[in-house]
Symmetry: C2
């Protein structure tokens, strides 16, 4: 092994580390590449864990195989990819000056010499304050966590489970546990709605409705105060409420695994993750970092963010391999595109929420839309509820949140390309898309959202779907059959269908109005018309559909 080849040592055999190693070996077959991994079994597609539990994916081992059926173990990486994985070795110390990494396996300690060191140490689940160590209080992160849960479910030991945290993992697990198992799930969340890091409350409440329709007991605004466990069960105290169950799963987010880096003097950023340049260099020469342990540059805040996502990890691994072999490459700013499936509902977002935006911009406003992913006449057209956040003074789009049975990831992907570039409402409205009735309406919901925001800036103001009704007369402009089928429970309601309004204008003259309809467009049109005739008017954003949380049914 006393070769003259450049030695590259990588700590961590997940997406970022393995991708980097594989590309390095392809680009320069003479490199001496070693990946150190603490687990004996590795290279699972861990994002698939909840779907093994739900039965969607046929088994854990499927997540460790390639598309053509090869098992991704150390011998696979040696034979096919051309690099060594030292599995079952924990990296315990970096000696930057000596260019050495100390690793520890069952047989003892070894030292590896490197020319370049890559940290791909990943992230680990955050713990609750005062969380006791007990077999009935679990995290869900590693393959072993999945195996334990599967065993207990198969053994019918889990009649009732409390999940702490309604973030993306909490929502995924709530669905998985109820999918084929007869488990009763209580999901406890400190914020006022699920997915609060990426959704403003009025959007999160749509997701809450979906969870509840699917028989998840969802408790919001309930910060966990105490977790206790004994042989008989677990007891979670949250917002004064005591929940008893067979198991508690803590799913309150991920934190970067940076101990090794910190000990070596690598500088962390304000998020607590490793600070890296756009070429993925750390503060210590010849030490690089990729994946869930690093910060990325967020295009909307202009500052750093910790976004542990497999898609970013993969791209960073590839980018670093390019950099380390002298190619011109760098990792760009990210817009923060995110997606999660919650039963039959898709949730996807990009950019920042209104709440986050207010910390960075002065004139943050937003609009709400209840639209469809295909033309209304297409039989499989499904709902999309959209919330678009923007800065009024610059007309810059800051965030898009979409929820619904419709195809929302498609639109969030589109938004991601533009938001990172600082797109304005006007430009987003000129979005080009591949239009055909089976796939999309003639105006895409994302462009429509931009139009609605532009209209708002011209004075057609939306009231938030969650806001209390203001002290205005309410004008219901739906067709009579709609108003009768779904009557409006409010005071001072006047029903005049949009199509009759111009004839019956004398009935509305001289007053201020909140105009309402099913989805928003009709009431927005009427609000504009009233204003043009000298009457103050606004409309209900997202229409009564949103306000009444008419969410996709199972």
């Amino acid at each position: 092994m006393a070769s003259k080849a450049r030695r590259i040592t990588i700590v961590g055999a997940s997406a970022a580390g393995l991708r980097c190693a594989a590309r390095l070996a392809r680009l320069e077959p003479d490199l001496n590449i070693t990946v150190v991994e603490s687990e004996e079994s590795f290279s699972y597609a861990a994002c698939g864990f909840p779907y093994v539990l739900s039965g969607d994916v046929e088994g854990l081992e499927k997540l460790r195989h390639t598309g053509d059926g090869a098992l991704r173990d150390a011998s696979y990486f040696a034979a096919v990819k051309g690099f060594e994985v030292l599995a079952g070795f924990r990296a315990v110390e970096i000696r930057p000056a000596a260019h050495r990494l100390v690793i520890q396996g069952v047989a003892g300690t070894r030292e590896l010499e490197w020319d370049e060191l890559v940290l791909a140490t990943g992230a680990r689940p955050r713990r609750c304050a005062g969380q006791p160590e007990h077999p009935r209080i679990r995290m869900f992160h590693r393959a072993d966590d999945l195996r334990v849960l599967q065993d207990k479910l198969s053994g019918k030991e889990l009649g009732k489970v409390v999940i702490i945290g309604a973030g993306f993992l909490g929502c995924e697990l709530a669905e998985s546990l109820t999918a084929i198992w007869d488990t009763q799930v209580t999901l406890v969340e400190a914020a006022q709605a699920p997915l609060s890091k990426v959704l403003d409350p009025e959007v999160g409440k749509l997701v809450a409705a979906v969870l509840r329709q699917n028989e998840i007991e969802l408790l919001t605004s309930r910060p966990v105060e105490k977790i206790e466990a004994n042989e008989g069960g677990v007891r979670v105290t949250a917002g004064g409420r005591v929940l008893e169950a067979d198991l508690a799963i803590v799913a309150v987010g991920l934190e970067p695994a940076v101990d090794l880096a910190v000990d070596a003097g690598v500088v962390l950023g304000p998020t607590g993750a490793i600070a890296v340049s756009d070429q993925l260099a750390t503060s210590v020469p010849h030490i690089w970092a990729v994946g869930d342990c690093v910060e990325v540059a967020h295009a909307l805040t202009g500052g750093p963010a910790h976004l542990p996502l497999g898609s970013l990890a993969n791209r960073q691994g590839r980018t670093l391999a390019n950099v380390l072999t002298g190619r011109a490459d760098s990792f760009p700013q990210v817009a923060g595109a995110f997606a999660v499936k919650v039963f039959d509902c898709q949730v996807a977002t990009v950019g920042i929420t209104r709440q986050q935006a207010r910390k960075h911009f002065d004139s943050v406003r937003s609009v709400w839309l209840s639209s469809r992913d295909r033309p209304h006449y297409w039989p499989e057209a499904k709902d999309i509820y959209s919330h678009l956040v923007y800065d009024a003074s610059s007309q810059r789009v800051l965030g898009v949140q979409m929820v619904g049975a419709g195809d929302v990831t498609k639109r969030i992907d589109l938004a991601a390309q533009w938001l990172a570039q600082g797109v304005t409402l006007g430009r987003l409205g000129q979005l080009e898309h591949a239009y055909s009735p089976p796939f999309a309406p003639a105006i895409d919901p994302l462009a429509e959202a931009a139009f609605v925001a532009l209209n708002q800036e011209e004075g057609v103001e939306a009231l938030s779907p969650e806001a209390p009704f203001p002290d205005l007369d309410i004008l219901d402009v739906r067709h009579p059959q709609e108003s009768q089928a779904r009557p409006l429970e409010a005071k001072r309601v006047t029903c005049i269908p949009q199509e009759a309004l111009r004839q019956r204008f004398h009935e509305v003259k001289g007053r201020g109005w909140l105009v309402v309809c099913e989805r928003g467009p009709r009431s927005a049109e009427v609000a504009r018309l009233l204003q043009a005739n000298g009457m103050p008017a606004c409309y209900l954003g997202g229409g009564l559909r949103w306000r009444n949380r008419i969410t996709p049914m199972p």
Copy 2:
């Protein structure tokens, strides 16, 4: 009617004209807006016609209603949108100097005075050379065309139909006619594969396979020489072959309807459509044009293009309303995003084909991929066949064509945003997307396509899936079970699985190779490895899956 209000007259009540009128009326309720329309019934969502025929959409009238169930007739536009539609009036002459439009209805001729005139005259179906007028030889464009076809189908008059032209309409109609009707369809095409305007032949042949799997008789490279009809039937002679049927449908594309414009001295562009500025002004002051009758600026060729698409028409209508009311707006260049459903296969493209690209760029190359729209372990993951065309010297991406049962419009929409901006392969590879296993793989197929092209530029060259095998030894690197299940019908084949290659390197030494596998990635890796060891090598683009046209089954 002697009001002082500005008079805007619009010719044509389809998407572009009506959208423009409706927004004008919203922005300036005092405008005097008149839309002139030759048909009595109008405002159909005509893109849905084939799906009425197939039974997907429940009836023609559905296409004339809004999402909330209102019928879009003249009284609807007057009452709800606030403008007049003169239906049943044909615009016969523009007098630009006098600012007058002559229109003709059943009751005679009238003249309308305008301050601004908007031409939204649309497109009409192209005819074949020497196409006779006969009830058995039909076009499919207007609601009446659909009604006639429905009647004949219901009356079981159409046992056999010949469709001339395998463009998007021909493909849609072929599917519609076989969907619920027991009609035998022959689809005749002059080019060597379907959809030849947007797909290079090796991609079009995948669509051909789908059509044939669904029992369409597809005849390619057969230009139509003669169409004859009599009371008993129709006879189409194409490429020397005589086809007899009950009906022929001519679907050879659309041409802009520009007679009225030409007579008024409005200048046409090189495509034969009306030339407009980015503010949609024609060459004649105060005459504007939008929709299927105008040219757009194509971002990839830098020149004009005629792209009659409902999505562009809608946006142009809105843009022109903004312009006419003094707002800062303009219609941007287009990348040409396009989609069509062909049975269970999605086809979507953007940019230009390799064939078109060669007219504009000097170093056009392309790559082929057989990938999936979701992670391979996801049970509903479906195939996507991608063809990416680029200019090697600038590394600019020129076109992307995707076909498959997988979600391809999503990726083409993404590509559309970037291609219009002149994206390079490197930047496209850094595509950010919302990743979650139910919706997308960690590396999106579009980014993967960029990677494969970048690899090709580093020397990992792909052979076209349709090319004859070159005079090289073939190295099959699939697993033995794959090679046995789907053996390669070729001479000089050596089978060494990728995982065994490093051990068996002596068996391949010193020769040139074409490396093959199922989908491409394994053979590309091996080709790179062989090259690094001094052996000339290339790989089969898209793998054997593409070459053998393993297309989505019904």
